[in-house]
Every structure is written in C-alpha cells, then in structure tokens.
C-alpha cells in the first residue's frame, strides 16, 4: 500500500447528472504518483464524464473530489479547431503554459511529429493531431496526466509505440495517469489498476482481478475475458435504459 501523500486525485462516491439523468454515479477511485489507472466500459458508460469530474471541469457534482496537484496535462476525447483561429502546432504547444523551444521540440519528437511543428492544426490528419495533443499534454511535465482515448485514429504500429511512451512517461516523470482506453490488450499489459464502468463502478482492481470478474465479462463478452483469464461467473444484474440496475 502506498502512503496518502502519493495521492494526486481522489474521487469519493462522485457522480454527475445532466437534465435529471445520471451520466455516472457513485464512482470512487484514486490516482497515485507513478501509477496508471485505466477506465474501461462500453460507450456511454461515463468514462469521459468520470475523467472530467476528476479534472474539475464539472463542478456541480455529487460526492466529492480531492485534487492534490495543479500540474495537470489533459488530452480530451474530442477537440475541434475553428477555421477562424489560425493556429499552428507550435502555437498550440504553448496554449496553457509557456515553454522553451527545447521542451516543445522534445515532446514533439517523442510522439513523432516534430516535422509538423509549423503546420496549421487544421491541416493535420486525425492521427497526427492526436500525437500533437499527447505531445502538448506531456510537454509541461505534469504530475497528473488525464488521457481520454489518446491514440484514437493512430496507425497500428504508432499505437503500440505511443502506449509504450505513456508507460515510459509515467515511470520517468513519476506522474499519475488516468487513462481511458478501448484497447483491452494494452489495458491488461500496462495498467496498475483498472476501473470498469457502466454508469457506476462495475468492478475494479488489478487487470487480472478485473479480467476474472463476472461483470466485466458480461460487459465485454467471453473473448475479452479470455485475454487473461478463463474464469467464469454469471452476471447478476442488468442495466435498464434509464441507468437503473436490476437484479436478475
């Protein structure tokens, strides 16, 4: 067990509702220095919402959030740059913090997009843009990194390289990472702690524990659970469209 002073952000039974509908409810988790916590779950299960609660973007929440750092790097799931804003990669890198040229170049080199430095953001492909987003988030050497599907649209070999980079960053900077990912193989190999969401915390623990969990299997199917385990259970509840949980 790690001591309390390693905790960067802690959610206590946190929840967020919009227009009287709960997007996510009762989430407790914590991210510590040097650890990678991964959120998994189907579409609409509240992964991004949970990340935004942890970041303090949503303020009117249920439960509480304790944040112990202000050095945060964030890669949002969606971001669109308007044409009216002429913005080059170089301008985007210093958006929230002033950096020297070396730090900018180093981060862009790490994610393999240093050659795009003077390009307009609007001219980048989806994968290139994603690499720039990741470079920007790590360039300020944050204590807490929140990555919402950071490798979407990145080619296959690039994807593996970027996940290795994320693992390396977590070790080198000793920063805590809250990662949202759909790639279960990666989740299982690189993560310290997995939280499986479906409007609430279905199950959580080490990747091995979660893979064995019956609820995880019910959500992702047999094959997913066989990635690490052949352990079998029965799903004991179903989720209705309103986000209620009914016991079988």
């Amino acid at each position: 067990m790690s001591s309390d002073q390693n905790i960067l952000v802690k959610l206590n039974k946190a929840g967020f509702s919009l227009n009287n509908k709960w997007l996510v409810k009762g989430v407790s988790l914590q991210v510590e220095k040097g650890k990678i916590v991964t959120l998994i779950g189907p579409n609409g299960s509240g992964k991004s919402t949970t990340a935004k609660i942890a970041l303090g973007i949503y303020k009117k929440i249920d439960g509480s959030v304790e944040k112990y750092t202000n050095k945060v790097g964030y890669v949002p799931q969606k971001i669109s740059i308007d044409w009216t804003l002429p913005l080059r990669v170089n301008d985007f890198m210093v958006l929230t913090e002033s950096l020297d040229k070396e730090s900018i170049d180093e981060a862009l080199s790490l994610t393999g997009v240093i050659h795009l430095k003077d390009k307009n953001l609007g001219d980048l492909s989806g994968g290139e843009f994603q690499r720039v987003l990741l470079a920007r988030a790590i360039s300020k050497k944050p204590e807490l990194l929140v990555l919402d599907e950071p490798v979407q649209g990145v080619d296959f070999t690039g994807e593996i390289a970027l996940y290795e980079l994320i693992k390396k960053i977590s070790d080198e900077l000793n920063c805590g990472i809250l990662l949202i990912s759909h790639d279960l193989h990666t989740v299982m190999s690189a993560t310290d702690h997995v939280v499986c969401l479906n409007g609430h915390v279905c199950c959580s623990g080490s990747p091995m524990d979660v893979a064995k969990n019956n609820e995880y299997k019910a959500l992702f199917g047999e094959q997913a659970s066989q990635i690490l385990s052949r352990y079998e259970h029965r799903h004991d509840h179903v989720h209705t469209s309103e986000g209620e949980i009914k016991k079988n």
């Binding site: 935004k52 970041l55 303090g56 973007i57 202000n70 945060v72 790097g73 964030y74 949002p76 971001i79 740059i81 308007d82 009216t84 804003l85 002429p86 913005l87 080059r88 301008d91 985007f92 958006l95 929230t96 913090e97 307009n120 300020k140 929140v146």
Partner: protein
C-alpha cells in the same frame, strides 16, 4: 495643433484602432459579433442618461453596457431561450428604451445621426484622454488575461482542466467589450462599432497564419481604415463612422485576393 478638429479625430481614431484590433480578433474567434451589437445598441441608453444627468458619456455608456452584459448572463441561466433570441431582446429593447427616453428629454438637443454614425467634430481633448488612457488600460488587462482567454477560446475544457480559470477571463473580457464601446462611441457611432471590431479582424484572418500575426494585421487594418476613412470623410464631407467602416471593407476585399492566390498555390 490639437485645436484642429481633424487632428483630434485622427489621434482619437488611431487610439481606438489599437484597441479594436486585438479585441476584434477575440470577437471573431469567440463568435461574439451579435453580442458586440447588443452592447452597442444599449449604449444609446447610456448616452441619454449621460445627457440628462450631465455625466461623462464614456463612463455612463460603460456602466450601462456592463449592466446589459450582466443581465444577459443572468438571463442565460434563468431561461431556456436560445442565445441569439436573448441578445435580440436586449439589443432592441435597450435601443427602444433609449429612444423613448430621448423623447422625454425634449429640452436637450440631440444629434441622433452623430450618435448612430459617429461625429468627428464632437471629439474633444477630454475624449482623447479617455480614449488613450482607457485604451491603454483595456490593452493592459487584455494582456494579463490573454493566456486563459485564448486557451479557453481554443478549448474551454482544456483551459479549465489545466487550471487557467476560463470563467473569470470570460467575465473580464465582457467588461473590456463594454469599455471599448464606451470609448469609441463618439468616433464610430453605436451602429457601426461592431464593424470596427469585426471587419479588420476578418481581413487579418485572410492573410495570417498565427494568432499573433492576426492580431497585428488586425491593428494595422484598423489604423489604415481610420486614416483612409477620416481623410475621405474630410474630402467628401461624409460621416466619420461610415467612412471608416467603408475603408475597412475595402481592405477586406483586398485581403480576399490574397486568399484566392493561396488556394491556387495549394492546388
């Protein structure tokens, strides 16, 4: 030298252009042109108030425009009406109330045309002080909130997540908008102030590749518009506001030629 009304107008216009350049870029980036219009319309009420209470015009316009901006924020929280409907409601009702009040103040002679379209003859040495000191203050504050304001213009959640407090920057920017309208109303007139904000910035967008360049070109465009506009206003005896805006339109059309060329180059 400052006795010459034309020199005064020129100095006033140049001061205004330095401020509308960068603010105009944010108006274009944040899609606030109708918001600017609303504040400008409400300025009429501020002017009538200034006349009836023998108060400084710029100051009372600033107060009224700020109040309208605060009212808008409150209305947005309390109703589900879309933003443009609320803006229209505030713009036209404040303009109407302003005009009604003018009707009651029949003992004061109003130069309505001057209010709506600007009047270079009306610029006094006091106005110059207000424009240059007020303008310098606006630019100073804008420089201080530049990072959070710009970051949240690109992406609100990114700015909020990384601890930049975008809500405070937005609130301060709203006050700056009220302030620029207050100091430029005599020059450009309340119907055309938004044009002074938007057109040089739109021109600048066509020819710039980074935000800093866009701000710079926007200032240069504003300065050229003021100089061109005022000289033609003197030459053809036209109102100062429309002449300045027409000059900025001319520059905007020129910038379109540049954009056509760059599109050709790409293909």
């Amino acid at each position: 030298m400052l006795d010459d009304f034309f020199i005064r107008a020129l100095i006033a216009g140049i001061g205004v252009a330095f401020v509308t350049g960068p603010l105009g870029c944010f108006v274009v980036w944040r899609r606030l042109s109708y918001f600017g219009d609303t504040l400008a319309h409400s300025a009429l009420l501020g002017v009538t108030l200034a006349y009836s209470m023998e108060f400084n015009i710029a100051f009372s316009v600033f107060i009224i425009s700020s109040l309208i901006a605060l009212t808008l924020i409150q209305l947005q929280k309390r109703t589900n009406l879309p933003g443009d409907a609320l803006l229209g409601l505030l713009a036209h009702s404040s303009l109407a109330v302003g005009l009604v009040v003018i009707g009651f103040l029949s003992f004061i002679r109003f130069d309505i045309m001057g209010l709506l379209f600007g009047d270079i003859l009306a610029v006094t040495v006091d106005d110059l002080l207000i424009i240059w000191i007020g303008g310098a203050l606006i630019l100073l504050v804008l420089k201080l909130i530049w990072k959070p304001l710009f970051a949240s213009t690109v992406n609100y959640e990114l700015a909020e997540a990384e601890g930049l407090n975008p809500d405070r920057a937005k609130a301060i920017f709203t006050i700056l908008m009220a302030a620029i309208i207050a100091i430029s109303i005599k020059m450009v007139g309340l119907l055309l102030i938004t044009g002074m904000l938007i057109i040089p910035a739109a021109m600048a967008r066509n020819i710039s590749s980074s935000p800093q360049k866009m701000v710079m070109y926007s200032i240069i465009g504003g300065l050229l518009s003021v100089i061109l506009g005022l000289f033609s206003s003197l030459e053809f005896n036209t109102a100062s506001g429309p002449s300045i805006i027409a000059a900025s339109l001319f520059l905007f059309i020129l910038s379109l030629l540049n954009i056509k060329q760059s599109i050709k180059l790409k293909n």
